[in-house]
């Protein structure tokens, strides 16, 4: 079980609070987290990554432990602090200027 934080629009769609617990089976990676999110909340399918190519949507970012993990491999292991629940895994809507 890890801690996950979703951006406001996705919280509305999924009907969850800002932070919630998510059971992620298997190795803890970006891909396994998003797999688990989409399995628990089918409405999120396509909102974080392209359902066909599995590529992260351009204006979505993944943060943890004060680091931007967005450009890491989706199969790279997430930090231990996420696995131990010391830190949440953030899905972020990128800032827009103007």
């Amino acid at each position: 079980m890890i801690r996950v934080v979703l951006p406001a629009h996705l919280r509305t769609l999924a009907h969850v609070n800002r932070e919630f617990d998510l059971d992620v089976p298997g190795p803890l990676t970006q891909r396994s987290v998003i797999d688990a999110l989409e399995a628990r909340f089918p409405v999120l399918l396509g909102t974080i990554r392209d359902p066909l190519t599995q590529k992260r949507r351009p204006y979505v970012r993944f943060f943890a432990c004060e680091e931007d993990l967005s450009h890491d491999s989706p199969d790279a292991a997430l930090p231990d602090a996420v696995a131990t629940r010391a830190e949440p895994f953030f899905v972020i809507g990128a800032m827009a200027g103007g």
């Binding site: 769609l13 399918l45 396509g46 066909l52 979505v60």
Partner: protein, 371 residues
């Protein structure tokens, strides 16, 4: 008691405006789906409680929402729009081949006979159908894969399929309009398609009379005359009396024949409405005067309708899906602006009043006439 329900899609959510048959006082509900762009909202003609909405952002992609209670509550349905078979390429802005990529749903067209069936026009240009209330979507790929598809090139607003008309007399006949490609028609329910742009002339393409490549902004028809179509092109207003096989210009005395919307009176099939916009580079009304133009003769002779509309310092635009008519008597006409106003006329355009003035930029307006 009859009434109307005006469905308004905006840059930052959806609003529903309701009134009784007099259309004097209005109740404004919303925002719903707040913060998202709602490109289009449209109700089923056979079940007014069934409404579909296209909800999108550049951040989180496409959601389709469905209401089964007239817009009181909404629930997401299917949002998987996967092109059928080999995706192929169209031309990119620089002329290079570019893979078809789904961006968003521009237009939802519920079936005239089945509330669970709905068509979706998407960017990059393609047509999808759902037969289960929006849960699952399947491309009618005969359109995208006709010979010219690889040569289609997006306009400034993207390569969008923005208009869908289903013939009231033959459900197998469908017209679609695609930005920077033109009008296409199927007579077999979407299996095979043909371009229907004969008579269009466009100065913005190398061959002004080409079979495809025209930037059609909107087409409309009257249910009693399904072979008569009216078109607002990038420049030029046109009509066809042979189901799109040929077109003739009817711009006549319009102050500008550039614009986006066009619609037809509910009871008078030769009464047509447009909102002239200054030019392709100046997207606001000529002289800062917001005027709807009405032709009662099927085109060429147009009269300005100004009563109740701002006639000075008005610099809004009226986008392609932002005009609709109700079927009450007198016919009601409605349009929304990029300045957030929704104007209504309860007398076929003779006079106008704003229902609301300060919504986010209006992307679409549809009307349900309620028994």
């Amino acid at each position: 008691m009859s009434g109307v329900r005006v469905l308004v899609g905006t840059r930052k959510g959806m609003f529903i405006l309701t009134s009784d048959g007099k259309r004097k006082t209005w109740v404004v509900s919303g925002p719903m789906l707040e913060g998202w762009e709602v490109y289009h909202v449209k109700g089923s003609p056979v079940d007014p409680n069934r409404i579909y909405a296209s909800q999108t952002t550049d951040w989180f992609g496409q959601i389709i929402q469905r209401s089964d209670d007239g817009g009181a509550t909404w629930a997401p349905v299917g949002n998987q729009f996967q092109y059928d078979g080999v995706t192929g390429t169209h031309q990119w802005y620089d002329g290079t081949p570019h893979p078809w990529e789904f961006a968003r749903v521009w237009h939802l067209e519920p079936s005239l006979s089945d509330p669970d069936t709905v068509l979706a026009g998407v960017e990059d240009a393609a047509l999808f159908r759902s037969s289960d209330g929006g849960e699952n979507w399947h491309e009618l790929s005969g359109l995208r894969t006709i010979g010219s598809g690889s040569s289609w090139q997006p306009g400034a607003g993207g390569m969008c399929l923005h208009t869908i008309l289903v013939s009231p007399s033959d459900a197998q006949r469908i017209w679609v309009a695609i930005s920077s490609a033109g009008v296409f028609r199927t007579d077999d329910g979407g299996v095979s398609w043909s371009p229907k742009n004969k008579g269009l002339h466009s100065e913005g393409i190398p061959d002004g009379d080409a079979e495809v490549g025209h930037c059609v902004h909107r087409i409309a028809l009257h249910p009693s005359r399904p072979d008569t179509l009216f078109m607002q092109k990038h420049w030029d207003v046109l009509r066809s009396d042979d189901a799109g096989d040929s077109w003739v210009e009817i711009s006549g005395n319009l102050p500008s024949d550039f614009g986006f919307v066009i619609d037809v009176h509910a009871h008078e099939p030769e009464t047509v409405y447009v909102v002239p916009i200054t030019s392709d580079s100046v997207h606001f009304p000529p002289e800062g005067k917001l005027r709807v133009y009405r032709s009662r003769s099927g085109g060429n002779e147009w009269e300005p309708l100004t009563k109740g509309l701002p006639q000075a310092n008005c610099y809004v635009d009226v986008l392609r899906d932002a005009m609709a008519v109700d079927s009450l008597d007198d016919c009601g006409v409605y349009f929304g602006t990029t300045g957030g106003q929704v104007y209504a006329s309860a007398n076929a355009g003779d006079s106008w009043e704003p229902i609301v003035r300060d919504l986010p930029a209006v992307l679409s307006v549809e009307v349900q006439t309620l028994a």
